[in-house]
């Protein structure tokens, strides 16, 4: 027979393990609800159904596609295979320009229209977000 102390310790360990597993499970569960997936225009084009979840779209800002009025910025994101129209009313980062890489966060209206809630700022001119690089097939 084991002593009382050993039993207590065993019980403690089991409880601890259960708590840890439960915690990690809960964290992962809520992670699933809160992650934002990244997609390229081509991936969006091949989608079967449009989800209402927030996503990120990345690629190049198409040349001569930026149109600005007093409350909106409209432009086209391209990965040179497919394109998507983006409307955005918010602050544009400094490095946002035609012919440069961009990542927009927001919701898909349909396969051709994306309503952005945020455009991500990146540090320097030559930097390209890794996802965009991959979406464009640049090495």
């Amino acid at each position: 027979m084991y002593g009382k102390k050993v039993k207590l310790r065993f019980l403690f360990l089991v409880l601890l393990l259960a708590t840890v597993i439960l915690t990690v499970f809960l964290i992962l569960q809520s992670l699933k609800e809160n992650v934002i997936y990244f997609q390229s225009p081509s991936e969006i084009n091949s989608l079967i159904e449009i989800e209402s979840k927030k996503i990120r779209v990345g690629g190049m800002v198409k040349e001569k596609s930026v149109v600005i009025n007093s409350n909106e910025v409209n432009f086209i994101i391209t990965d040179f295979k497919n394109e998507i129209n983006v409307t955005y009313s918010g602050a544009v980062p400094n490095l946002f320009a035609e012919g440069k890489g961009v990542v927009a966060e927001g919701f898909l209206k349909d396969k051709n229209y994306f309503s952005a809630t945020k455009i991500l700022a990146k540090h320097d001119e030559n930097y390209m977000p890794p996802e965009v690089k991959e979406a464009l097939g640049v090495k």
Partner: protein
Amino acid sequence: MLANQIGYYSLILGLLFSFLLCTIAIQDFNKVNKKLNANIIILTFLQLTFVIVSFFSLILSFINSDFSNETVFNNSHTTKPLFYKISGTWGNHEGSLLLWLLVLTLFIFLFLLKSNSQPKKYRILTLLFQQIIIIGFFLFVLTTSNPFNYLFPIPKEGLGLNPILQDPALAIHPPILYLGYVGASIIFSASLAAVAQNYISKEWAQHIKKWVLISWIFLSLGIMLGSIWAYYELGWGGFWFWDPVENVSLMPWLSLTALLHCIAVLERRATLTSWVVVLSITTFTLSMCGTFLVRSGLLNSVHTFANDPARGIFILIFLFVLIILSLGIFFIFHKDNNGNQNNFFWLSRETSILINNWFMMYFLSVVLIGTVYPIFLDVISSEKISVGPPFYHKLIAPFLIPFLLFMALGPRLKWIKSKIEKKYSIFIIFIISIILTFFIIKNLTTNILFYTLLLSAAFFLFFTTLKELLTKKLNNSSQTIAHFGFSLLILSILFNGILSSEVITNMKIGEKFKFGKEEIFFKKIEERRESNFNSIVAFFEIKDLEGNVVELEPEIRVYNQPLMVTSEADIKTTLLEDKFIVMNLVKGNEYFNVRYQSKPFMVWIWISVFLLGLGGTIGLFKTRT
């Protein structure tokens, strides 16, 4: 050019001294004499001197714009102001590692100086463990990130420092942060040495506490400086973005804070020994992981500058060696020899500390999973995801409620065993907090229940610590001030979050824009010239209903080296709120993209972190009787 060679060779000498030190230390370990061989301290000092010489020769190369040095060429430019030439030294990968090395050697030297009253074998082991880390970093610097690489032919001009890094807060951010990160290395080495010598005791706790406090203070201030910088320089108007690199600095802070509290328990009660060791190992591992994640380019973040797989692999291997070594030592040598004292009572100060320790571990796991999961998923399924702030808010905020309550009640309990006494004052404060919160929150948000609970808990901590500060003879002032600072931090973050407002619009010069109770008037723009940038300064007027006018002058800067456009926000700070404006120019268009924010209690966030640091500093100078 000379400075280059001096720098390089002193690094190699420094590495040789590491081996020499280890040999002498091992010889001295088994000698009978009680005192540490005096040569050891002298050698440690010489090693430190070599690293200092190396560091200063790099600074000198930066000041002289010596472009025969590759690091200088990559990160400096002749037109850059002197201050940023100097700060450019540690604004890059190579230089920042040299700074790590400098702090590593500085801390072991100070440790040997300050630990005279400690057992000799313990000091020698600490030195040996620290030297293992130091050797690792010497090899890392010399093989993968030599700051003294020679360039030929010598370029006429450098590439310049990333303009957004040319900033006073960011100039001192890395050194301060590193003092915190690397301070954890001494705690790591010392606790491993103490385990090996079976010396984890009240005396040890008293001695190591100072080191824990020092790194905690620097880490807190370092994180705050980075946060202030992000607030005004990145132009997003927030102070914390749950960006992977921010998380990576928050994780060691959480485990260091937990450690700080456990050391206090160990100091009084000689319990929690294993937990203290585990936390020491965790803290340093997380600091190293931080370096690994940032420097390997694995994290997709605003901070990722260099992508060099060799560096990542080196740190990864080094990290594994350290973890295996430390766990090995822990399992082989550690004896839980406090069984006789191991009687915890549920109602005691140490129980409340322990409970909050578990909460901090939970916060740590949330941050860890949120940071690492995207990398993990990318490796496994090459799906790209990012984890946004809602994840962290949802998982952390609810648990802040009990956390704050325990923070308020814990210090009012006694060590060992406490009774529920009739403390009307605490109860009254609790009721006041709830009522106050309810009236404040009623009209502000929809989620009344949750915010009432969270805010009352924060107010409860605020009032109890405030009462303590005003009435008591300040016998535990460091803890009270720090807890007061924390309550203030949570309160200002909450009010800032609830009451902030933001307008984003596109404006032409001369236009007015009305919203809510205020009106923005875009008066004019002006062009200015500096040595390293040209700028467009815009003049805005913010007018409220009573006719008060605030003038704001944000800038768009076009830096020449490297060619880059940055926005400089203009912020008018008062005790009650910050008015924040930033603008961008969209190419080839007359519209300026304007973002205006009013951020209440912003300055209190910084003040409360200072209070945290102040509490820590008082703890450092106070000797317990």
